[in-house]
Amino acid sequence: MLDRSFYEKADEIIADHGKGKESLIPIMQDIQSIYRYIPPELLTYVAEKIGITEAKAYSVATFYENFSFDQKGKYVIKVCDGTACHVRKGTLILERLQKELGLSDKKNTTDDMLFTVETVSCLGACGLAPVMTINDVVHPAMTPEKVSETIKKIKEDEA
């Protein structure tokens, strides 16, 4: 059972978007933008409130790549895997990030809940390829060395 504040927040969000079934995606987006993931209990709650089955809500939530039921780190790093970034060696950026943080394709959040590393299809910043974003801030023209520096800096700031 989540803290009551979660449900109160969800009520506010539902009120913002209305109770139609077409509100499901915007509601989940807002929930995710607050908690950086969707607490499963809230999905059940929202489904009931807007009058759709839990199964339906779950099927929609799992269809879209942006929704996650797993908690994410404080810094969500997304590495662009669009064509332009790929042609300009974006894979090396991902490899270095995973190596620095001890992550893999299967395990994408660090145990201290500080970092989550994901890939994302084209961010549309192809002129600056290869790029990655940290909490939606674009970091242009990345190199493996710059990755290491950036991670080091965040770790220092957090220490």
Binding site: V60, V120, G124, C126, V138, P140
Partner: protein, 627 residues
């Protein structure tokens, strides 16, 4: 701004906006597109505001008492100028100087020399082959373009409706609403033969006509801003740089088909586009250009924004409308078509961003004028995002029918690093490859279809001679397979099998028979998949197989990748004669596969080597070779 209730109201405020612009002695436009922002343009904006005494938070107010004269400098955040490679960009009018790669510490000099002195800061100007180009319009990258849709991108502040109004914004809406019938509007668009810029090339006017004649009276207008093709960012730039143009196009479409609600579906990966659109819609609502009884015409229209949630397939019409309805974004079988039963089961006009942005100028200047641009069957211009191994990465707009050669060599400045041109991937994961023999093919909807490629949404990824085409095909197949929604078997299973084969090939396990199997699978998917994305999923493979079959053969027969891209097929060696024994390679090797004594040649343990290439990249003497 007060609500505008008539054409006169609009004309009055427009005059004010124009006067304001013309009274400005020096206008600074700082590119605040996604690219330049990432390069640090926000700091440049703040610094220049500080220097010029502008308050960055003050909006432009148009009360009766406010004099619009005597503005010395005006600092604006504009949308994408397109020349992303050279960002952050700063344009200064009336001189039209374009400063490239500007840093916050350059601002003082810009202020003193240009804003106060009217002289250019030479070192920030673009130089090519020894020629310096002070004026933006003379730079070859711009000189060969024809910017109509993107005309205002980079030339107006993107967050103020007053800026759009000063540059003909909502003039076409005024004309359509107050002087034309919906039928006349449709006729103009139909006669212009404006074709859908999202990739399909379907006639826009025909779509509108079909929606207008449905019996059902509740209708919708939807804008597809789910620009998911990797390497394409035309629509993003329009939404970020000139959102009012696209919104105006949507309102005109709604008027033409008598729709009173509209939806814009934008990719969640474009947060800046979403926020600029929200600002633009709020401002248009405040001005009464969206809402009830627009300009006293009796026509009402409301506009909503929906954010995507990370599914490429939602760029397909029926998947997109399903997603707005709160469903899984999966395409459905057609008919019924979107024009008959689209959003919420009602007749729906669904066009993409660039298509809507074409509408206002066609209404203003007429269909005959539109036919003077581009080719006979594909009139108008097309925006392309040019990326990859090219000198001038960026966003361009050229008349339909322009050749690849002009785009790559005249506008794009040629291949990066002076390498040879190999191929261009056009139309993203649904498109095909064009090679040097196709450099003179005019780019329009029909001539590309003949080549087995398609114009797609307009992404051009340029590849040089060091690009492995088999790997590129694998990359695209991996993308499509990831994004396959799973509804129909051919796409769900077929792309998986094709991907497995391609992975075998790049990992040195491929056989010659697999190439035929790839082709057979590709044809089957193309023939039987449910939606447009599935039907075109195999195109990158089929087209590279046709054009670069020798490269595939090398991979499967000789187990060789001529570009050294496919790691499993290459190995690294240290040439003893060139190695000085500095140990830099050993220090950079992530798996400690390199060993040796300082000042004598090092060696690589092939059983440990993961072929990452770090040694070759870091060797100061070029002693590491790839074979």
């Amino acid at each position: 701004m007060n609500k505008l209730r008539s054409g006169e109201d609009l004309a009055k405020i427009r005059t004010k906006c124009e006067q304001r612009i013309s009274s400005i002695k020096c206008r600074i436009l700082i590119c605040a597109g996604t690219g330049c922002l990432a390069g640090g343009s926000e700091k440049i904006y703040e610094r220049l505001c500080e220097l010029c005494g502008n308050d960055p938070n003050a909006s432009i107010e148009f009360g009766d008492g406010i004099a619009c004269s005597d503005i010395h400098t005006d600092v604006q955040k504009s949308g994408c100028h397109g020349f992303c490679e050279m960002g952050p960009l700063v344009r200064i009018e009336p001189y039209n100087y374009l400063y490239i790669k500007v840093k916050p510490e350059d601002c003082d000099e810009i202020y003193n020399t240009t804003v106060l002195g009217g002289k250019p800061v030479e070192r920030l100007l673009y130089t090519m082959n020894g020629v310096t180009y002070p004026a933006q319009e003379d730079i070859p990258f711009y000189a060969k373009q024809m910017r109509l849709v993107l005309k205002n991108c980079g030339h107006i502040g993107a967050e103020h409706i007053e800026e759009a109004l000063a540059f003909d914004g909502y003039k076409a809406l005024e004309k359509a609403l107050l002087t034309m019938t919906p039928e006349e509007v449709i006729d103009v668009i139909y006669d212009s033969n404006l074709r859908g810029r999202g990739g399909g090339g379907f006639q826009t006017g025909y779509k509108w006509k079909q929606v207008a004649r449905q019996k059902e009276t509740v209708r919708y207008v939807v804008c597809n801003g789910d620009e998911g093709d990797p390497g394409a960012f035309m629509d993003r730039s329009v939404m970020e740089g000139d959102p009012h143009k696209m919104i105006e196009g949507m309102i005109i479409a709604a008027y033409a088909v008598s729709a009173s609600e509209g939806y814009i579906y934008v990719r969640a990966e474009y947060p800046l586009a979403v926020s600029r659109l929200k600002i633009a819609i709020a401002q248009a609502e405040e001005a009464g250009l969206i809402g009830d009884d627009i300009l006293g015409s009796g026509f009402s229209f409301h506009l909503h924004i929906n954010k995507g949630a990370g599914a490429f397939v939602c760029g397909e019409g029926s998947a997109l409308t399903a997603s707005i309805e709160g469903e899984r974004g999966m395409p459905r079988t057609k008919p019924p078509r979107t024009v008959e039963q689209g959003l919420f089961g009602k007749p729906t006009v669904l066009n993409n961003v660039e298509t809507y942005a074409n509408v206002p100028m066609i209404i203003l200047k007429g269909s005959d004028w539109y036919h003077t641009i581009g080719t006979e069957k594909s009139p108008g211009t097309k925006a392309f995002a040019v990326t990859g191994s090219i000198n001038n990465t960026g966003l361009i707009e050229v008349p339909m029918g322009t050749t690849l050669r002009e785009i790559i060599y005249d506008i794009g400045g040629g291949i990066k690093g002076g390498k040879g041109f190999k191929a261009v991937q056009i139309g993203g994961p649904s498109g095909g490859c064009l090679i040097s023999a196709d450099l003179d093919v005019p780019l329009d909807f029909d001539s590309l279809k003949e080549k087995g490629a398609m114009i797609g949404s307009g992404g051009l990824v340029i590849m040089d001679e060091d690009t492995c085409m088999v790997e590129v095909a694998r990359f695209f197949m991996n993308f499509t397979q990831n994004e396959s929604c799973g509804k129909c078997v051919p796409c769900r299973e077929g792309t998986m099998r094709m991907l497995e084969i391609l992975e075998d090939i790049v990992n040195g396990r491929g056989t010659e028979e697999q190439l035929d199997l790839l082709e057979e699978l590709g044809r089957a998917i193309t023939d039987t998949a449910l939606c447009g994305l599935g039907k075109s999923a195999a195109l990158p493979v089929l087209s590279t197989l046709k054009v670069f079959r020798d490269e595939y053969m090398e991979h499967v027969v000789e187990k060789k990748c001529r570009t050294g891209t496919c790691k499993a097929l290459s190995s690294f060696m240290i040439v003893p004669e060139l190695c000085k024994g500095c140990s830099k390679c050993a220090r950079n090797c992530p798996v400690e596969a390199i060993s040796g004594e300082l000042k004598s040649p090092f060696t690589i343990d092939q059983s440990k080597c993961i072929k990452c290439g770090a040694c070759a990249d870091n060797c100061p003497f070029g002693a590491v070779t790839r074979s």
